[in-house]
Amino acid sequence: MIRYILRRLLWVVFLLFAVSLITFVIFYLLPSADPAALRAGRQPNPALVESIRHQLGLDQPWYVQYGRYMKNLVFHFDFGFSYQNGVPVRQLIFSRLPASISLAAGAAVLWLVVGIGVGVIAAVRPRTKLDRASMGLALVGISAPVYWLGLVALYLFSADIGLIPILPGANSYVPLSEDPAAWFTSLIMPWCVLAVSFAAFYSRLLRGNLTEVLSEDYIRTARAKGLSERRVVFRHGLRSAITPIVTIFGLDLGILLGGAILTETVFNIPGIGRLSYASIVRSDLPVIQGTVLLGAFFIVFANLLVDIFYAFLDPRVRYQ
């Protein structure tokens, strides 16, 4: 197992290098803005533009720039400075990470609880009204774009512009360290909005899997042995049916930890997603690189954790 984990960790490193390289190349191939020209302002002396280009190292071939960037990153954990505001990228990322983690973690709890709960209920009561209603609602949840859903929620429930003003709306995020109660209430609506589509998808997926598993021979055997229905469903059925959910959950959570761009934008939560978006718009390569690497790290690391977790969840994987 340790050898397996080490091998996977090496792959993580390789993948991060590959992602950083691809990001760099894309930045040079696409018609993004000229960072030196942007940094120099609107009516600069041409010499100033070239001077800034030199100072930022943008007059070097892309592979030289890339090599320098990776060297600083690997040996000093230095992501460089934002072209836009001169602030260290590491500082920018770490100042925003708590907001993204808060959003993603809270929403994940919500969608797991709701998704699994609804999925199980629908699976053990197939073709009932409850099943059809929950799956129908799930379809709506999957189909509703997060951005739209967020706006609808704001116009319905936010304390400042909502028809039923019961929850803090956009621009109300408070860090956990400042005021835990305000942090919690400010995130209720974003959590719900972000969790809707995930919960809907998970419930439909789990319902299908669990329905299939519950018709397996070993489930019939378990029932024949006289086990309670609850024990059959949760101990034997759910444990087997949930493995695809675990895989997807790992990836989804990894992606969201790298920034939930739409939700963060609608609710003005200062997280990684909004930082990524702003940096892309401003062609701020060091920040783009930093956020992309962070997102990639979360995804591959979450994937690794999922694979390891699999071994404990499913004995067949361990035996292989």
Binding site: R42, Q43, P44, P46, L48, N85, N171, T265, P270
Partner: protein
């Protein structure tokens, strides 16, 4: 001088004063700007002292460093925290008032020397805590020329100071042409008689003092970190720790202003009613943000204008919460005068003649958002009236706001196209801004060109890419730039016309002369006008140039933007007409 930045869903960024989005579009043919919200000025103040104001912004300032700051939204913060030699009171966009200075600048008769006396008792905020001197102003100007600071206008306005080149080349440690004979006197010695415009530019944040002994270590870094360690001379400062490190600014998140403990109201004309000002950034959805302001308390908008539905609603229901102000800028469609077919003057005139500029204006909101532009110097600028005012310079090809196809065809015939229509088959590269109102404007512009048989190939990119990769790069060979515009830096007409139509200002990168107009008579007239001293004479000289430029039809001017600002009902908002935005030093709460 700066190009107008158009609000895409993203950036917005930074479009500040001219970011006023469209609002439906029942166009009328009225030429006068519709005025809905009264423009509140200092005289209308009824607020109290104290309290907290929240400024809702969609994006960040361009630079927190006052030496690099260059956009209206940034100026909104900078003029509350810094005291340049001169600045603008809320109700006068044309004449600056002494701020750090004691009186108007003394410009020598040959325009080669500008002398300013400064107040002796304006103190820096902690941790510097001493009075600002002329040496601090000198250092502020010098550091603006450092590549680590990257000021975008220093070269344009202060490049004539003797010794600038040597300083930039690293051959001199200071700019020899700036003298500080004593702590309260600063003298700018110029290589030519451009003192008139230098005196005007002293109202920009570049002249706000910076203490060298404190700032030099930050300026030595690449990029300079002085912005994150800045000290203030204005009534407010960005919240900072005891060492001066800024704690109240988080890029893209917030700017927290608190009172500067060393500010002495006796030395300043600012009122500074508020105790704290919180700028909350990142409100990308300007509809939600606008509604929050209108229904909330103690809030004003920062870098965006209310979008069309909200603007309509405000106009109809709560006009008192809206203020419309001439921005001092304009938008136009630039035609590349160096490339066929627009290297032909008659063809350009035909394009201007056919353009339905009312349709263009409708994309931004119709008459409410400003009058149709008929020349290039905007309203509330020196030279505007002299150049023809709202009516225009009299050229026939700008006489018809809805366009005149027959007249356009006549010009096409004169230009060598007997059918009155363009017969070339090539695609004309047109690069516009993707998304939002800007994209609509670009699409309408393309439709206008098609009326005469042109085949514009519209390519839409982000606004920054549009400028820095295409329209501002002559070798990109873009033929039509539909989303460009220009905003004054101060009320001198040179700031509008020189960077945008002087052939000598065509550069390889960040070129602002988008039509690449290079007419010797105009260039030479601009050279002469730049040396004129005295407001009236300068206005007339530049108005004459405006007429010359307009006659060359290098671009289709289509709107002199008004800026729309909104506030909560309990805010006694005061607009600074120079900056086209709320004046944080005069705004208060009820």
């Amino acid at each position: 001088m700066k190009p107008i930045r158009v609000c895409s869903a993203a950036l917005l960024a930074l479009l500040v004063s001219l970011t006023v989005a469209a609002c439906g579009s029942s166009d009328s043919s009225s030429e006068a700007p519709a005025k809905v919200g009264a423009v509140p000025t200092e005289q209308s103040l009824t607020g109290k002292t104290g309290g907290k104001l929240t400024v809702i912004a969609s994006s960040d300032v361009d630079y927190i460093d006052p030496g690099a700051a260059y956009y209206q939204f940034t100026f909104m913060v900078t003029y509350a925290t810094q005291r340049p030699l001169y600045s603008f009171g809320p109700d006068d966009a044309i004449d600056a008032v002494p701020d750090l200075a004691t009186q108007a600048p003394d410009v020598s008769s040959d325009g080669k020397t500008v002398t300013v006396k400064i107040k002796p008792d304006v103190k820096f905020s902690p941790p510097v805590n001493r009075a600002a001197t002329s040496a601090d102003v000198k250092y502020a100007v010098e550091r603006a020329f450092l590549p680590t600071v990257g000021n975008g206008y220093a070269g344009a306005y202060f490049g004539d100071i003797i010794g600038v080149q040597e300083f930039q080349d690293g051959k001199a440690k200071e700019i020899s042409g700036i003298d500080t004979p004593d702590d309260t006197t600063i003298v700018f010695n110029l290589s030519r008689g451009s003192g008139g415009v230098v005196a005007g530019a002293l109202a920009l944040p570049i002249s706000a003092p910076v203490p060298q002994e404190y700032a030099a270590k930050f300026d030595a870094k690449n990029p300079s970190t002085y912005g994150m360690n800045q000290v203030a001379t204005g009534p407010y400062m960005i919240e900072a720790d005891a060492d001066g490190a800024v704690t109240g600014y988080e890029p893209g998140k917030k700017i927290d202003l608190v009172r500067n403990p060393n500010w002495d109201s006796a030395t300043d004309y600012r009122k500074a009613y508020l105790d704290t000002i919180n700028v909350e950034e990142g409100n990308e959805d300007t509809t939600v943000a606008s509604r929050q302001i209108l229904s909330g308390t103690a809030q004003v908008n920062g870098d965006f204008g209310p979008p069309p539905p909200v603007l309509k609603q405000v106009v109809g229901s709560t006009p008192d919460q809206l203020a419309l102000t001439p921005s001092g800028g304009l938008r136009y469609v630039a035609l590349n005068t160096t490339m066929a077919p627009f290297d032909n003057l008659d063809v350009r005139k035909a394009v201007l003649a056919v353009f339905d500029r009312e349709a263009m204006r409708a994309t931004r909101g119709g008459p409410l958002l400003g009058p149709i532009a008929n020349h290039f110097i905007p309203p509330e600028m020196g030279g505007f009236d002299e150049a023809g005012g709202l009516t225009g310079t009299g050229v026939d090809f700008l006489k018809y706001p809805k366009g005149n196809l027959a007249l356009a065809k006549e010009y096409m015939k004169k230009g060598g196209f007997p059918s009155g229509l363009y017969t070339g088959t090539e695609d004309l590269l047109m690069v516009g801004t993707s998304g939002g109102v800007a994209q609509k404007s670009a699409e309408v512009a393309a439709a206008q060109l098609e009326k005469l048989g042109f085949k514009p190939k519209l390519r839409l990119v982000t606004q920054d890419a549009m400028y820095t990769k295409f329209c501002s790069v002559p070798k990109a060979k873009v033929i039509i730039c539909p989303n460009v515009g220009w905003l004054k830096d101060f009320a001198d007409p040179q700031t509008i016309l020189d960077p945008t139509f002087n052939g000598q200002n065509i550069v390889d990168v960040n070129n602002s002369n988008w039509p690449q107009l290079n007419v010797e008579a105009i260039n030479s007239a601009m050279d002469k006008a730049a040396l004129v001293v005295g407001a009236d004479a300068r206005n007339q000289a530049w108005a004459d140039i405006d007429r010359q430029v307009t006659a060359q039809a290098p671009a289709v001017p289509w709107i002199w933007d008004d800026t729309a600002n909104i506030r909560s009902v309990d805010v006694v908002g005061v607009i600074n007409k120079f900056n086209g935005n709320w004046d944080l030093s005069f705004t208060s709460l009820k």
